[in-house]
């Protein structure tokens, strides 16, 4: 997902994309800092998952589901629950994704989306405690790409956020050493929501929300998680080893800050649609 330096990319594709960009254009007519159309549908796995969302970003589609379980806290944080994001690059989504155990890029996808959630402290871990040292809620958000046409990271970030923000789970308590339901239904205790923006560098040009053909020829990509107060909560440079100047990083950060308003709104609107 992003580093295609080992694939044979046709010279025609490579030159075509760079030429277009040099002329200030993209194949689908978008501006460099423009996302494709985004559709978010929440509660798509209503019967089994505590939260879920399907996101279409152009022709990229991902589905995310949240499970809330009860488990034991880590010994070094006895009063804190656990949040974890995983992602797979399911072969269903692209002829480029292979069967078998997750490879580096699948793990990177999961880690980058995970950090966007965890480092911004989307879910307040302290409030996930049921009984200190004994029982805490464990929140798992898992992402499955269904169609891959570039920019899985941002699509996954939107899906995970929309799923977490609409998660509903039964409140549990410990009574006489036993775990029982209280009968209340809870939403996740949220602290700070951040969405991720991925900028690709091709030559000395930066573009947001790459389609696959653009990703094929990128030198590298740069992902930034931005919260609603314009804080950067996580970053990752990946998708190829091309170096980036400070100047370009500065420019990329501005692109992310500018886009983040719209993406936060997309998530919020999806959440509102079911409230």
């Amino acid at each position: 997902m992003g580093d295609y330096s080992t694939e044979t990319i046709s010279h025609i594709d490579r030159e075509f994309i760079s030429d277009l960009l040099r002329k200030g254009e993209r194949l689908d007519g978008r501006a460099f800092n423009e996302y494709r159309d985004i559709e978010v549908e929440v509660n798509v796995v209503a019967a089994k998952a505590e939260g879920s969302a399907l996101v279409r970003l152009g022709n990229t589609t991902v589905v995310a589901g949240v499970k809330v379980l009860v488990g034991e806290p880590y010994s070094d944080s006895p009063d804190e629950g656990v949040t974890m994001v995983t992602a797979e690059m399911s072969p269903i989504a692209s002829p480029l994704f292979e069967l078998g155990p997750p490879k580096e890029d699948a793990i990177e996808l999961a880690r980058v989306v995970d950090r966007g959630v965890r480092e911004s402290e989307t879910v307040d871990a302290k409030k996930l405690c049921i009984a200190e040292g004994k029982k805490v809620y464990m929140v798992f958000a898992d992402v499955y790409p269904l169609e891959y046409d570039g920019n899985l990271i941002d699509a996954s970030s939107i899906a995970v956020n929309a799923a977490l923000l609409t998660t509903k789970y039964p409140e549990m308590k410990v009574e006489e050493g036993k775990l029982v339901q209280t009968g209340e239904v809870l939403s996740l205790p949220l602290k700070n929501v951040a969405v991720e923006h991925t900028v690709a560098k091709i030559d000395d040009i930066l573009i947001l929300d790459t389609i696959l053909k653009e990703e094929f020829v990128q030198d590298c990509r740069f992902t930034m998680a931005v919260d609603k107060n314009n804080n950067f909560t996580a970053m990752q440079k990946g998708g190829g080893s091309g170096p980036m100047s400070l100047e370009l990083i500065d420019q990329a950060m501005d692109m992310a800050l500018e886009a983040s308003k719209d993406i936060h709104k997309v998530v919020d609107d999806a959440v509102k649609s079911v409230e």
């Binding site: 044979t8 046709s10 010279h11 025609i12 594709d13 490579r14 075509f16 002329k23 194949l27 007519g29």
Partner: protein, 308 residues
């Protein structure tokens, strides 16, 4: 004796199409004198032959096909070429270069190069093998390659090339249509390129509808008038000599044709530009294809069908 479908009916696998003295052709199978569809497609009766025109499907090479591929490996005197579909192709230097050639054939063509080539041999146990001795076959420069479903290529070419020629007339683009579902397009500017892509994609989506040529023609005329003359022509004209798709005549290649028994040049043209070239009444033939060769191809096709 009975036929159970309407002309152009969309049929599905397992659907009973005919019973009695009918012959099962492409997209069908015969079980105990009953002919069933093996594909989702359009059922067709020709004489007493029943066939189903596929609406989807991977590219299966056929001798004489024009294909567009990407070189993925140079090994000894062979290039490995990705042409899509289940079978990776190979191209031997003898079928592409004039002898003598250098030991290191990557000097001529290297990984990542996109080529227009012809399928010179294929059976499902080995191959396909490509050749580049035909007219217009070469390394493609510039432009872009659009992927469409290989099953839709005949429609994109049109009867005797009617569709593709109409598109070229409207847009003034250079293009080459590979039977493997890859279309190389070089347009004077991005607006025209987008329009070409739109036209090809529309044909792909609506391939099984009627009067498509007219609708595409209208659409292109309308859109071109909007684009108008305001847009600069951005193509550098140096390569205009190889402009006109497959029908570009290249004397260079003709000289080279003494080795390895090249396919008759016109055959790749017949296959790609006028796949269904079988009737004689229409005069507006795309090509300078001669009638005897048409028949030759025709015979070959008949045999193929019989083999099934």
């Amino acid at each position: 004796m009975a036929v159970y479908f309407q002309k152009r009916e969309v049929v599905v696998p397992g659907q009973l199409l005919a019973e009695g003295r009918y012959r099962a052709s492409f997209g069908t199978y015969d079980e105990g004198g009953k002919i069933f569809s093996s594909l989702v497609g359009l059922a067709e009766l020709r004489g007493n032959t029943v066939k189903v025109v596929a609406l989807e499907g991977a590219y299966i090479p056929k001798e004489g096909d024009l294909v567009i591929g990407t070189i993925t490996l140079v090994a000894g005197n062979n290039w490995k070429v990705d042409i899509g579909g289940p079978y990776g192709a190979s191209l031997h230097a003898n079928n592409a270069l004039r002898r003598p050639y250098s030991d290191d054939i990557s000097e001529y063509m290297d990984m990542g190069d996109v080529i227009a080539a012809e399928v010179i041999a294929f059976d499902r146990g080995s191959g396909p093998f490509l050749g580049m001795k035909g007219r217009g076959l070469r390394v493609l420069q510039g432009g872009m390659v659009l992927d469409v479903s290989p099953a839709k290529i005949p429609r994109i070419i049109g009867r005797r090339g009617s569709m593709i020629n109409m598109i070229k007339d409207h847009l003034n683009i250079q293009t080459m249509v590979g039977q493997n579902g890859r279309i190389w397009i070089r347009a004077p500017n991005t607006a025209v390129l987008r329009l070409a892509i739109k036209a090809f994609k529309t044909i792909e989506e609506q391939a099984h509808t009627s009067k498509l040529t007219d609708r595409i023609s209208e659409m292109l005329a309308e859109e071109m008038s909007k684009i108008g003359s305001g847009v600069e022509d951005e193509t550098d004209s140096e390569e205009d000599s190889i402009a006109d798709t497959v029908s570009a005549s290249e004397t260079e290649d003709e000289k080279a044709s003494e080795e390895v028994e090249p396919k008759p040049e016109k055959e790749s043209k017949t296959e790609s530009e006028a796949t269904t070239d079988t009737e004689d009444e229409s005069v507006d033939v795309v090509a300078e294809v001669e009638n005897n060769e048409e028949e030759e191809v025709d015979e070959k096709q008949k045999e193929e069908v019989k083999e099934k």
